[in-house]
């Protein structure tokens, strides 16, 4: 028996899909940033300790610098080792929070009067303004802000000596690093949002176009069928074969339009408890079994799903089953309660999956059929994923293909 688990739903024993590879890159990227920030913090803290606090000897005068340097060392060390375990968001939040505290301590230790207010204003206005610029503009803006901030800190200090410069530059560096990290996160989030909106608009467009195509396609399909009926009577094999070919192509276009509409649909599932018997009845109304094929519902338990989306999933699986049994056979559908949800499987008595292609059957536009669009199982995968479920395919002991979907049960509100 060939166990084929789809990697997008948590499989582990086959090559990673492009999607999981890109997730890996993202994690590496967050880890690398965490480690780099940790090293910078640690180095900055050590520099402040060695250059400023230790040589001056007067511990009480340099107490704020000492505390800040130690804090930077500890934070840096922690980030160096633990940072890679955090997600980018947690990392940025921690850094932003810690730095805000350190910056405030620096202001109140070494600043006084209107210049503190000016430094606050200049820095934070700069930070907010930088969010609305392109990354390059924002970096330049931040550098200007940082220089102004450092100058204000030094001018505000009593001595203007090396301790003040180190403190000013150290604080400024931390602010730049943190703001840079936050900005990167925000730009990333914005880019992701734009991409999501584009996909959503594309989905809406595909749905509208798909629906609007149905009428002209219906008319063309009807007319070609009519002409084929006429030509069959006139015994004109060449014309008959041309119309038959045209009919096959227009049917293919109709199927592609239908599949694209389903695949690009962005509707969120509206979950409700469904009786599988009723749903299978509706499926068989949409796709009645061809002659020679029996559909058997072996067992049935209620399932939590969006009725329209699950209808689409089962219609695709049942249609696939029909197509796999060209000589006739039995299509079994069953459901059982399992793992806090429901497992539904559809099993045909055809020849099963070819082991060489089994790991690609859920990929969009992958097909082994001459007439297939390659979207049927991709739609199944996408719709099941939208239910937070999983889908797997395997060859049943009888030799036919078996597709299993698992859908979570009722979710208790947190």
């Amino acid at each position: 028996m060939i166990e084929v688990e789809d990697s997008r739903s948590g499989g582990s024993h086959r090559e990673q899909s492009p999607k999981s590879q890109s997730l890996l890159v993202l994690r590496h990227s967050a880890a690398a940033r965490g480690r780099t920030l940790g090293v910078l913090f640690f180095a900055g803290g050590m520099f402040a300790l060695v250059v400023v606090a230790v040589p001056h000897g007067d511990t009480m005068d340099e107490l704020p610098v000492l505390i800040l340097a130690l804090a930077a060392c500890v934070t840096g060390g922690a980030l160096w080792f633990v940072g890679p375990q955090f997600s980018a968001r947690v990392l940025h939040f921690t850094l932003a929070f810690g730095t805000a505290e350190i910056t405030l301590a620096a202001y109140f230790s070494h600043g006084s009067g209107p210049s503190v207010a000016f430094a606050f204003f200049y820095t934070w206005v700069g930070l907010y303004a930088s969010l609305f610029f392109t990354p390059r503009q924002a970096q330049l803006h931040l550098l200007v802000c940082a220089a102004a901030f450092a100058s204000v800190l030094v001018a505000n200090s009593e001595s203007g000596g090396p301790a003040d410069w180190v403190l000013a530059m150290g604080t400024t560096t931390i602010v730049i690093l943190v703001v840079g990290a936050i900005m990167a996160e925000l730009f990333e989030a914005q880019a992701s949002l734009v991409k999501k909106e584009r996909l959503s608009a594309l989905g809406e467009l595909a749905t509208v176009v798909g629906h609007e195509l149905r009428n002209p396609l219906a008319a063309a399909i009807n007319d070609l069928y009519f002409h084929r009926m006429q030509l069959a009577e006139q015994v004109d094999p060449v014309a008959f074969s041309a119309v038959t070919r045209a009919e096959a192509q227009i049917n293919r276009a109709a199927q592609l339009s239908e599949d694209l509409t389903s695949y690009m649909g962005e509707r969120e599932p509206q979950l409700t408890e469904i009786c599988l018997d009723d749903l299978i009845g509706e499926v068989l109304e949409v796709v009645p079994p061809p002659k020679g094929i029996d559909v058997v519902l072996e067992s049935s338990v209620p399932v939590m799903a969006d009725p329209a989306l699950l209808l689409q999933v089962l219609t695709n699986l049942v249609t696939n089953g029909y197509q796999a049994m060209t000589e006739g056979g039995t299509l079994k559908v069953a459901s059982i309660a399992e793992g806090g949800g429901t497992t539904i499987w559809v099993e045909d008595s055809g020849l099963g999956f070819d082991a060489n292609v089994a790991d690609r059957i859920f990929d969009p536009f992958f097909t082994t059929k001459d007439e297939g669009t390659g979207l049927g199982l991709a739609i199944v995968h996408r719709l099941v994923e939208r239910h937070l479920g999983t889908v797997t395919a395997e060859n049943a002991p009888s030799g036919g293909a078996r597709v299993k979907i698992w859908l979570p049960g009722k979710r208790t509100p947190r």
Binding site: N215, A218, A219, N222, D223, F226, Q230, A308
Partner: protein
């Protein structure tokens, strides 16, 4: 037979196929025309589009008089029909077909619908 669809090409191509098969077929462009034709003549089955101007297919079904056996309805739609709507219509709709309907499936559905309508009419006559 009655074929109701606001799309001229779809309506005429469907009518052409059904006429070739020997059915007596009339046409309607919207729901109001369907209601008028059902009052004027005896119709066994209606191929009824859902989305039509003036009066849609769902409203037509809900307005059918159940006392004489109403025509058997084959509902055709380019859009998904809500589950609640489908449940509400119940047995008043014989089959729901999704556009574009492959002609062999339409023909099979029409044959079933006409048989059902004639059987229902015969039963009413027997009772009376």
């Amino acid at each position: 037979m009655l074929v109701a669809d606001d799309d001229l090409a779809v309506r005429q191509s469907t009518v052409r196929i059904l006429k070739t098969l020997g059915y007596v077929v009339s046409e309607a462009r919207d729901g109001e025309e369907v209601m008028a034709k059902l009052l004027d003549s005896e119709v066994d089955a209606v191929v009824l589009d859902v989305k039509m101007p003036r009066r849609d297919g769902i409203s037509v079904i809900e307005g059918l008089d159940p006392s004489p056996p109403p025509p058997v309805v084959l509902l055709v739609s380019a859009y998904d029909i809500e589950r609640q709507t489908r449940a509400r219509l119940g047995t008043r709709v014989h089959r729901v077909l999704r556009k574009p309907v492959p002609p062999p499936i339409l023909i099979e559905a029409v044959e079933e619908a006409v048989d059902l309508a004639r059987a229902a009419r015969a039963e009413v006559k027997t009772r009376s």
